[in-house]
Symmetry: C2
Subunit: 218 residues, 2 copies
DNA sequence: GTTGACAACTTGTCATCGTCAACTTTACAG
DNA sequence: CTGTAAAGTTGACGATGACAAGTTGTCAAC
């Protein structure tokens, strides 16, 4: 009746356990990476017994799938914002690149599982829905680019290229999703700030733009 | 003295266990993905006890690191071959793209661990050595491109872009390293053959080439 | 306002996993 | 023949994911 914990409503036994579990999972993955994830540890951090998550997410793939869905939602939101703020099609491509890196930086734990088919259920309805929406948002930005500047752009092809490049960038460079080999830098892994990777993403976007703006069917 | 098993020499107790373990690991990862990997299962498939791998690889990260090193070696070899067969700098970039996809297709298990900092020891000397060699081979191809066609190409930048794009391509498209969400295809995951992905990689290479061949500092 | 039913959560168990320590077997040097 | 070290085995420990069964809280119906 009176003893509310902090924020969540008193609809359930212990407040909003699903949310608490997802938060704990994010925290754990951020700390130890996707391989360090453990359902029991998540439950422990949420202050519940080791079997509590079962009733909300089924198994560990269920929890991680929920995280992936959330991640795609973040990506979708960021892309929509890019779309909204862009002043030209060219500007939009660069903003898309920055958006991708922003999401990876702001939500590393989500990104660490979003593309891991071995950890999540990629055919989950919600996960698919938001993933598709994010991809379609990217494609629509490229359609605008085609309409404004170039008529012979293969949108599907270009979207695949952009998606792949940004995904590779995020996976490959240190400090983003999980620390990674630093072949591309040789000089050292330090010196990679979120801003520098953002800038790199923007330059890549520009390079892609240049390539996409010429006749692709050469 | 006389009872050789099949191929390996009789130098050790049971032939060439390290090789047998790596082969079993490749088989297991190919079947069940990187997350389905288990040291004990590998030992089981190699016909030895669960603790045998310890004496050769230390722990599971040791075995996977050895696999990653092997994978980088495959990549290096493929890139060297691309370099050798190329008739022009432009042709080289396309061949590099194809090479990357070939390695991912021929050695999916290796590629599934090569970029997984949470599973391998990225600072392992051998792993670093071959990874660096592969990257430098890519960079040298781009240097040739710069020298032959364009003088103001930022090689480091271009190499990063190519590396990221190919990595993303390999990770993202179904049937390659591990089956993945298929946002980029929507129509369905079927219809993705190794050849079609190879062609896609080549087209991406061409697009990148177009972008890289113009002044990057626009 | 008592009862009953269901959701939320707990406790206990099982097979499996990675890692460690101790033991056994084989190869080879002296 | 003997001793030593590498190669491989057995056994054990704590931790994990999944499952089964029990417990607690909540809310609707009467």
């Amino acid at each position: 009746m009176s003893g509310d914990d902090s924020e969540a409503s008193s609809r359930y036994h212990h407040g909003d356990l699903p949310r608490a579990l997802k938060a704990a999972a994010v925290e754990l993955i951020t700390e130890k990476g996707a391989a360090g994830f453990s359902l029991r540890e998540v439950a422990r951090r949420a202050g519940v017994s080791h079997a509590a998550p079962t009733h909300h997410f089924g198994d560990s793939a269920g929890l991680l799938t929920a995280l992936a869905e959330e991640g795609f939602r973040y990506l979708y939101d960021a892309l929509v914002e890019s779309h909204r703020e862009a002043t030209s099609a060219a500007d939009r491509l660069i903003r898309i690149a920055r958006a991708y890196v922003s999401v990876a930086h702001d939500h590393p734990a989500h990104c660490a599982v979003m593309f891991r088919a071995d950890l999540i259920r990629r055919d989950d309805p919600g996960c698919r829905e938001w993933g598709d929406k994010a991809y379609r948002e990217l494609a629509s930005g490229l359609e605008a680019l085609r309409d404004e500047e170039q008529s012979d752009l293969d949108v599907e092809e270009a979207a695949g290229l952009c998606w792949s490049t940004m995904q590779g960038l995020v996976v490959l460079y240190p400090g983003m999703v999980e620390r990674e080999i630093k072949h591309a830098t040789e000089a050292g892994a330090e010196g990679w700030t979120p801003e520098s990777i953002q800038d790199r993403a923007a330059r890549y976007g520009r390079l892609l733009l240049t390539g996409l703006s010429r006749s692709p069917g050469a």
